[in-house]
């Protein structure tokens, strides 16, 4: 597969992270509400203890086996392999912020790594909690498409790897909460109107009642921020992948509609107040001189809402999406080229945000 943007596949860590992550592109169906879609499959090799009980040399064996299988597959042809041990803590954190690597894999002490397909549609985490965590990421609301990518990659790897599987329980995973399909399908949805109108608790409660899980934007047990909610399937046993994905899709569609109706209502009843909130947020981002990351994320939420509502003069969606990742501590320090104290980070972050927005204004020829 060739990358959609025509640029050559990243051959090094620097090349990979120098371009914005594909899932931030702001493209895809319902991109104004759904930031991204993710499908994760957990797999283990039959004859090796699970990662936390395996010796380092066994984990090295897993790395060899999995990277070998990836090399033989079409999906991971010309893929980039990064060994966690060869990256600095800051570089590993960059990958965590980019959602390519989990916090656990980001620890980096043991033989662990990731394989990233040239188009970044699919990647593999090796020796995380499970030997293999295959993940397909897509911008916007694309569950069926992301599943097709993950399913195909899994089939290809399955040709050369002996996965731990039992007829009764399915794919066997280190934690029994993932046993069965090993599937975690999730969508990251932006719900500012439901939050503003104080209807979010009701919506989230009903989501949980139908057996889905709600988390913050940064995965398991992360804080809710920027009015973003990650909704995913909770169970993996007794339902096929397709069933799980379809029921997530149905519920997500309902949430999207509820949010859209809330936005319409909000605009009808309080257009000026909404516009004021959006432009004040934009103004703060555009002219701030010191800003913590949480504030960036919350202000970006308001700007994102304005962009989604079609307010003229704001920046494109991908700029808001990218700011959310570029202003995280590791990205920020990498861009600065050295370590920064939290106070220095706030100053540098403000500069970066101003520059990004100025560049977007310049590009689109809009003046505020």
């Amino acid at each position: 597969m060739t990358p959609a943007n025509g640029t050559p596949p990243p051959g090094t860590f620097d090349e990979l992270v120098s371009r914005p992550a594909r899932w931030l592109s702001g493209d895809g169906p319902h991109a104004a509400l759904v930031l991204s879609t993710r499908i994760r499959l957990a797999r283990n090799l039959r004859n090796v203890p699970f990662s936390h009980r395996a010796r380092d040399e066994q984990l090295q064996g897993v790395m060899l086996n999995v990277t070998g299988a990836a090399e033989r597959s079409k999906v991971f042809d010309h893929a980039l392999l990064l060994r966690m041990s060869e990256l600095s803590p800051l570089e590993r954190q960059v990958l965590v912020e980019r959602h390519l690597v989990s916090h656990e894999l980001g620890d980096g002490a043991r033989p662990r790594g990731i394989v990233v397909a040239p188009d970044e549609k699919v990647s593999l985490m090796i020796n995380e909690e499970d030997h293999l965590r295959l993940q397909a990421m897509a911008p916007g609301f694309q569950l069926a498409e992301a599943w097709a990518v993950a399913d195909a990659a899994d089939d290809e790897l399955d040709q050369s790897l002996d996965f731990a599987f039992s007829e009764e329980i399915g794919y066997l995973t280190a934690c029994p909460t993932n046993a069965g399909t090993g599937l975690r399908a999730s969508v990251l949805i932006h719900l500012p109107a439901l939050v503003l109108l104080d209807e979010i608790q009701k919506v989230l409660k009903s989501v949980m009642q139908v057996g889905l899980n709600v988390r913050g934007p940064y995965g398991e047990h992360s804080e809710f921020m920027g009015n973003q909610f990650q909704i995913s399937n909770q169970t993996t046993l007794g339902r096929s992948e397709r069933d799980s994905i379809e029921s997530l899709e149905r519920v997500a569609r309902q949430i999207i509609e509820t949010e859209e109706r809330a936005r319409e209502r909000m605009l009808r009843d309080a257009r000026v107040q909404v516009e004021d909130k959006v432009w004040r947020a934009y103004g703060t981002l555009r002219y701030c001189r010191s800003i913590p990351v949480k504030e960036v994320i919350n202000l970006c939420s308001a700007v994102r809402l304005g962009v989604a509502l079609g307010m003229p003069g704001l920046c494109p969606l991908h700029v808001v999406n990218e700011l959310q990742v570029l202003t995280q501590p590791a990205h920020l320090q990498r861009s600065y080229g050295g370590e920064l104290t939290p106070a220095e980070r706030n100053v540098y972050r403000a500069r970066l945000v101003r520059e990004q927005l100025a560049a977007a204004e310049h590009e689109s020829g809009t003046a505020v």
Binding site: P49, T181, R239
Partner: protein
């Protein structure tokens, strides 16, 4: 909203927890989150599964609990009590070694104990080709729904090619003595 533990500071850390197979939310302040080891960056989260396990053991008498705890996986040597502590099994064989303990646990987590879903192909090209064809049929349907007719035509041709390939391989295999 105030912290649910100290009731003084504002709750800035929010968790979703599984208990008795029900989701519940916890809202706490940073300080209490760190003290209780709830902070994601401070400590890895194991308490959800640990809670489930604790709930299961509650109904057991001490002798039962001891007996169950001493069951050991013959392959990796993990005792059941080790699983109880970490919420992680040691190897694929643990699922067989602890099957009597795990079955009710899996039922509580998932509401079911039988896998329904994809399985490893494991038996070569024929199986993977038919799955590929199936997947392309699904993709074709989606392309038609979206009126992406050019893509649909490409998919249709590719499906025909794969089907023909499968037929000719089967014929060749039948002709072999």
């Amino acid at each position: 909203m105030l912290c649910q533990i100290c009731g003084k500071n504002p709750a800035t850390v929010h968790f979703t927890e599984i208990h008795d197979n029900k989701m519940s939310e916890i809202h706490v302040c940073e300080k209490c989150a760190e003290e209780k080891g709830l902070h994601a960056s401070v400590k890895k989260q194991k308490f959800d599964i640990a809670d489930l396990l604790a709930g299961m053991v509650d109904g057991m008498t001490t002798t039962e609990e001891e007996r169950v705890g001493h069951v050991q996986c013959p392959r990796c040597g993990l005792p059941y009590s080790g699983f109880k502590e970490t919420g992680r099994l040691g190897c694929a064989e643990c699922y067989t070694a602890f099957q009597f303990q795990l079955r009710p646990l899996l039922r509580r987590i998932h509401g079911d104990t039988r896998h329904k879903g994809k399985r490893p192909t494991g038996d070569g090209e024929g199986v993977s080709r038919s799955r590929q064809i199936q997947r392309m049929h699904d993709e074709l349907q989606r392309a038609v729904e979206r009126e992406e007719f050019e893509r649909a035509a490409t998919l249709r041709d590719e499906i025909r090619r794969l089907e023909a390939e499968g037929r000719s391989e089967r014929t060749a295999a039948e002709k072999q003595p």
